[in-house]
Symmetry: C2
Subunit: 154 residues, 2 copies
DNA sequence: ATAAATAATTGTGGAAATCAATAATTAAAA
DNA sequence: TTTTAATTATTGATTTCCACAATTATTTAT
C-alpha cells in the first residue's frame, strides 16, 4: 500500500470552490474571526460583543432609548431588555424616564460603566488590530468606508 | 407643553459614536444584512446559509470529510452531523466511507443536490448583488480581496 | 372620545452554540 | 509489537440565542 502523505494545511483546498471566494462568505468568515477575537478579549470584563455594544452606545451623550438600541443593533426589543437588565444589575447603566415620552426609557451609562468601557475598548481595539493585522492603516480606512456603504444602505 | 418634533430618521445619530465607525462593528452589521438577505432568498429551497454552505462544499469534487467541513465552516463537529443528516435525509448528499481512513466519512453531493445548489446559488447571488448594490464591480472585487486577507490569515 | 399605534416587558418554543462522553480507528511511543 | 495517545463521528445535556405572541402603559390619530 502506497502511503498518501497527510496534509498539514488541512482545509486549504476548500477555499477554492464556489463558496470560498464568495463575497458574502468571506464577509461571514471575516466577521466570525473578528467576533471571536473580540469575545475572547472581552471575557476578562464579563462582557460579550452584545453587551459591549450596548455599553458603547450608552456611555456617550446620545441617551438612546431601548427601542433605538434595538433598531440600531438589529435586535428584538426583548433582547435589549435582557442586556440592559444585566448592565443595570452590575451598576454599569441606568434606566431613566424619557421626559418627553413616559412609555420610553432612556439608557445612560454610569461612571462605573464609562470606566469599564474605557478599558474594555482598549482591549477590543488591540484584538481588532490583531485580526486586521494583514491590512495597512490606509487599507483599513478604505475597508471601513466600503463596509459603511453596505452597513448603512440608502 | 411644547412639542418636540419626532425624528423620521431614528437611529442616525447613534452611527456617530465610538461604535458606529468601528471596523469590527461595520463588519458585523454588513454581515448581518448579508446573512438575512441570503436566508430570505434560501427559504424558498428550505435552506439556510448553514446548509447552503455545506451543500456548496460537497457538490464540488473536493469530497471533504465532516471534520474538514467543521474546520472550514468553524462549526462544532456535532453541528456538522446534524447538517449532513438533514441533507442526507433529503437526498441531497451522501456519506461515503473514506478509503484511506475508516474513521472518516466523505460527503458528496447527489445529482439532486447539485441541481438544487445550482438554482439556490442563482438566488443567493441575486440577493447578494442587492446587498452590495452600493458598490461597483471593481469595488466588490477589491472588497473580496481585502476580506480574503482577513478571512484566511497567515 | 375613541381607536390605533408604540415602548417596554414577560413568557415561550425552537434553533443554535458549547461541552462531555463514547466507540471505532489510526498514529505515536515504548 | 504492544501499548498508549490522538482523532473521527456520533449522542446527549446544558446553555444561550432568537423570533413571536401577548400585556400594560402611554401616546398619536381619527
Amino acid at each position: 500500500m502506497t502511503e498518501t502523505p497527510k496534509q498539514t494545511v488541512p482545509v486549504e483546498r476548500l477555499r477554492h470552490g464556489d463558496l470560498g471566494d464568495d463575497l458574502s462568505f468571506l464577509l461571514a468568515r471575516a466577521n466570525a474571526l473578528s467576533v471571536s477575537a473580540a469575545n475572547t478579549a472581552l471575557a476578562a470584563f464579563d462582557l460579550k460583543v452584545r453587551s459591549y455594544s450596548v455599553l458603547a452606545l450608552v456611555v456617550g451623550d446620545e441617551r438612546p432609548s431601548q427601542r433605538e438600541l434595538a433598531e440600531f443593533l438589529r435586535l428584538d426589543p426583548s433582547q435589549v431588555v435582557a442586556l440592559v437588565d444585566d448592565l443595570e444589575r452590575r451598576g454599569l447603566a441606568t434606566r431613566l424616564p424619557d421626559e418627553s415620552d413616559r412609555r420610553a426609557k432612556v439608557i445612560v451609562g454610569t461612571t462605573a460603566g464609562r470606566e469599564l468601557f474605557a478599558v474594555a475598548r482598549r482591549a477590543t481595539q488591540r484584538a481588532e488590530l490583531e485580526v486586521h493585522s494583514a491590512l495597512s492603516a490606509k487599507e483599513r480606512e478604505l475597508l471601513a468606508d466600503t463596509l459603511r456603504r453596505i452597513a448603512y444602505p440608502r
